[in-house]
């Protein structure tokens, strides 16, 4: 084995050797940058994109939430926009609706994909086709999918798909989006259909990582399918379940396109007004960009709480 001798760094004459010279030499920042120049250069692209399209707008939004622009003059107004937006009569309605949607979406949109994944995992044949079938709605642009629901499924007359089915089953028909009581469940149903494909695939990947021996052992112990799910599947996938729950909460609380398309905005008696839709109303219809920014910051703080939980869970997984 050849031994390479590293030449000693020349020292300035007259300077005593450092008592710490045995320690590895600290590389200067400039040298570090030089050594990894290409890496840093590639990084600049991503950092710039984040700065320009994510961080700058966020900081700008926070600044705007403490300002007021009138007659082209921008002034600092402290917490005024916040107190004004909280006094908005639709503020609490919007939060109530948003939380209601989130809870319903967790109950339906979170549980259903898990069981669909378990079902798909059990199939021996045509697995690929069935997965494509489940994932297909995700490929539809959300606006198109929602228009399908609006005009085809949720038509309040008896010509609507769901009402025709209900009628065929001799069940009472519904007004769907025109009924304040049905607005949220109908939006959750459409949203679940549109989005569950992604969650199903993630669950499937997770399910396939569960060692088969665990199920075999459970079967030998006489466990039926339900007990296998409760005692093997759920504990083995609990981390993914927790992560997806957090992601689902953060995503569903940003409810916007569903009310905009299915309910033409606020819906029957404001039953579809979400926080994100209220931001849109203030910003783009009510000449109140500062109020919209304040509401956006409030939403950011709430979502940051959920995101913090997500980050902790991710760290645990790592």
């Amino acid at each position: 084995m050849a031994i390479t001798t590293v030449p000693e760094t020349p020292r300035k004459p007259g300077r005593p050797p450092s008592p710490y010279s045995a320690r590895p030499q600290r590389t200067s920042l400039g040298r570090k940058v030089r050594d990894n120049l290409s890496g840093h250069a590639f990084l600049i692209g991503a950092v710039l994109c984040f700065v320009v399209f994510s961080w700058y707008p966020m900081v700008r939004g926070i600044i705007m939430s403490f300002q007021r622009t009138r007659r082209g003059e921008t002034t600092w107004v402290g917490w005024d926009n916040y107190s004004r937006i909280i006094a908005d009569p639709s503020f609490w309605t919007a939060w109530q609706n948003t939380f209601y949607f989130t809870v319903l979406a967790l109950a339906l949109g979170y549980v259903v994909p898990f069981f669909v994944a378990i079902l798909l995992n059990e199939f021996r044949h045509a697995k690929g086709y069935l997965r494509i079938l489940v994932y297909l709605p995700v490929m539809l642009p959300p606006a198109s999918a929602l228009f399908l629901f609006k005009f085809y499924a949720y038509d309040p007359s008896e010509a609507g798909l769901f009402n025709a089915i209900l009628k065929a089953l001799h069940l009472p028909t519904s007004q769907w989006m025109q009924s304040p009581e049905m607005t949220m469940p109908a939006m959750v149903l459409a949203s679940t259909w549109m989005n569950m494909g992604g969650a199903v695939l993630i669950y499937l990947a997770s399910l396939q990582n569960i060692p088969g021996e665990l199920y075999e052992a459970a079967e030998l112990d006489g466990a039926g399918i339900w007990r296998r799910i409760v005692h093997v599947t759920i504990p083995q996938t609990r981390l993914i379940l927790a992560l997806l729950a957090m992601l689902q909460i953060v995503a569903t609380m940003q409810l916007f396109i569903e009310p905009l398309i299915l309910a033409n905005g606020a819906g029957a008696e404001d039953s579809a007004t979400s926080v994100a839709y209220l931001i849109y109303q203030h910003g783009f219809f009510q000449n109140d960009l500062n109020g919209a920014a304040a509401l956006g910051v409030i939403m950011l703080v709430v979502l940051a709480g959920f995101s913090a939980v997500y980050v902790r869970l991710t760290a645990k997984q790592d």
């Binding site: 120049l37 007659r71 009569p89 989006m177 029957a268 219809f285 000449n287």
Partner: protein, 459 residues
């Protein structure tokens, strides 16, 4: 070149590319050299979109002719969509400072435009020398674009609402097309007969979403003699007998007679789509609603007629009016303002030219003979000229609008902070149109509280 060198070169190219992209993004398109060399360039929006073939050709022909007459002026047309002022787009352009030099806006946009700081005071520049017909323009329309004694836009179109009705459905239902309903009770009776035709036809149709419900509530309230806000604009003023009557009329038609169709939560395009498909007997709207039905929603002109807005016991006590105009972007040079005014004078305010070139529009699928706009003051020379040309080139049966034209209803403007108030009133409208058990008193009380809170917060 070794692999690390390739990586470095690629990285440098990437950074340079990104830098150039960002530089390009930050470059403003409206250069200040627009008056260089004695030639003035202005950008103007609201050019018709490609789908509006005839309107687009007319616009482009107007630009070519105008530039021929004014070789020192270049007009750069900008299309901002079929609806020139889609509120979200308009707000984004104002906030981003990307409006054109001369930009389109609604009469209700004045406050928003002033708040954005994007418009300039054009009081000194607008006169008879700049726009030959300026003295004939209805002073009430100029007033709408005036704030603190300063003029900020030139009005180019106006409207007021009436009862738009489908003659074909009237005939099928055995109703007299020459004697349309004059009161809301008559509207209700006619709607019942029309909806009895079946086939999903609504006798009367109404908006209740996307702020359009509140917009129409306002007009219906005006017809009852009511007003949305108190005189000082500080309190809601619709939770009263007139407001209740508006909602009661709608509830009676929707659930008492089932004459308003099953589909509710309608906004502008939804209702007009149904109207174009022959599924709507009556609705309230401006004369140009018939134009939209024909040009955008495949309806037929001969099917539609207009009457004045009905009242509760007799003639309507008022109707909602509005319109549009062109603002001038701040910091334009005096030459650019002069050029912009010249263009507006040519394309929008000269009888026989631009929007009033009725001879050109006559063979096109574009209505001539509608009773509005009425930009010029009654009795003015410009009005006489414009009306003569309109009559001579009419391609729609003007008899269909004769009643509307012959029975003017007092026009009232939109309330302060109109869009926010409309958003609140949407809920009251959707309440009576989607809930058979809706409590009108409670709906109005809630809406009143919300509007009062809004106004208090604003002040």
């Amino acid at each position: 070149m070794s692999v690390p060198q390739y990586r470095k070169a690629a990285a440098v190219a990437l950074v340079a590319g990104l830098g150039l992209s960002l530089t390009a993004c930050s470059t403003k398109s409206d250069d200040k050299g627009s008056t260089a060399g004695g030639k003035v360039t202005i950008t103007v929006d609201c050019q018709p979109v490609g789908a509006q073939k005839e309107l687009l050709k007319n616009w482009n022909d107007d630009v070519a002719e105008f530039q021929k007459q004014n070789p020192d002026i270049t007009i750069k047309s900008v299309s901002v969509g079929e609806q020139c002022n889609n509120p979200p787009d308009f707000t984004a352009r104002l906030a981003g400072g990307t409006v054109t030099d001369v930009f389109y806006g609604y009469m209700t946009d004045l406050q928003q435009v002033l708040d954005s700081g994007q418009a300039m005071d054009i009081s000194q520049q607008v006169n008879k020398d700049a726009i030959a017909t300026w003295d004939s323009v209805d002073p009430a329309l100029k007033e709408v674009f005036t704030d603190g004694g300063k003029l900020y836009a030139v009005p180019v179109k106006n409207y007021s609402m009436g009862l738009v009705y489908n003659k074909a459905l009237f005939q099928q239902a055995g109703l007299d097309v020459n004697n349309p309903p004059k009161t809301w009770a008559e509207v209700r009776a006619a709607a019942k007969k029309i909806s009895a035709l079946g086939n999903g036809i609504a006798g009367y149709s109404e908006y209740s979403a996307g702020n359009t419900g509140g917009w129409h509530f306002t007009s219906l309230l005006y017809s009852q003699g009511g007003k949305v806000l108190t005189e000082d604009g500080k309190k809601a003023d619709f939770n009263n007998a007139q407001g209740k009557q508006v909602l009661q009329n709608l509830k009676d038609m929707r659930y008492g007679d089932n004459s308003m169709g099953a589909r509710q939560l309608l906004q502008w395009g939804d209702l007009l789509t149904n109207a174009g498909a022959g599924k709507v007997g009556m609705f309230i709207g401006a004369p140009d609603a018939t134009q939209a039905i024909v040009s955008q929603f495949q309806g037929k002109f001969q099917d539609w007629a207009m009457a004045p807005l009905p009242g509760q016991d007799g003639a309507a006590k008022g109707t909602l009016g509005g319109g549009e105009g062109y603002f001038f972007k701040k910091d334009l040079t005096p030459e650019q303002v002069k050029a912009g005014l010249k263009w507006i004078a040519y394309q929008k305010l000269t009888p026989g030219k631009g929007q009033f070139d009725y001879a050109r529009a006559k063979p096109q699928n574009y209505p001539v003979g509608l009773p509005q706009p009425l930009l010029f003051a009654n009795g003015s020379d410009a009005q006489k000229q414009e009306l003569e040309l309109r009559k001579a080139n009419a391609n729609v049966d003007t008899a269909n609008f004769a009643l509307f034209e012959a029975t003017p209803v007092p026009i009232k403007g939109e309330p302060r902070n109109a869009q926010a108030v409309y958003a609140v009133l949407d809920a009251a409208m959707s309440g009576v149109l989607t809930n058979p058990n809706s409590n009108i008193d409670a709906l109005l009380k809630t809406a009143e509280e919300k509007v009062n809170q809004l106004l208090a917060a604003e002040s």
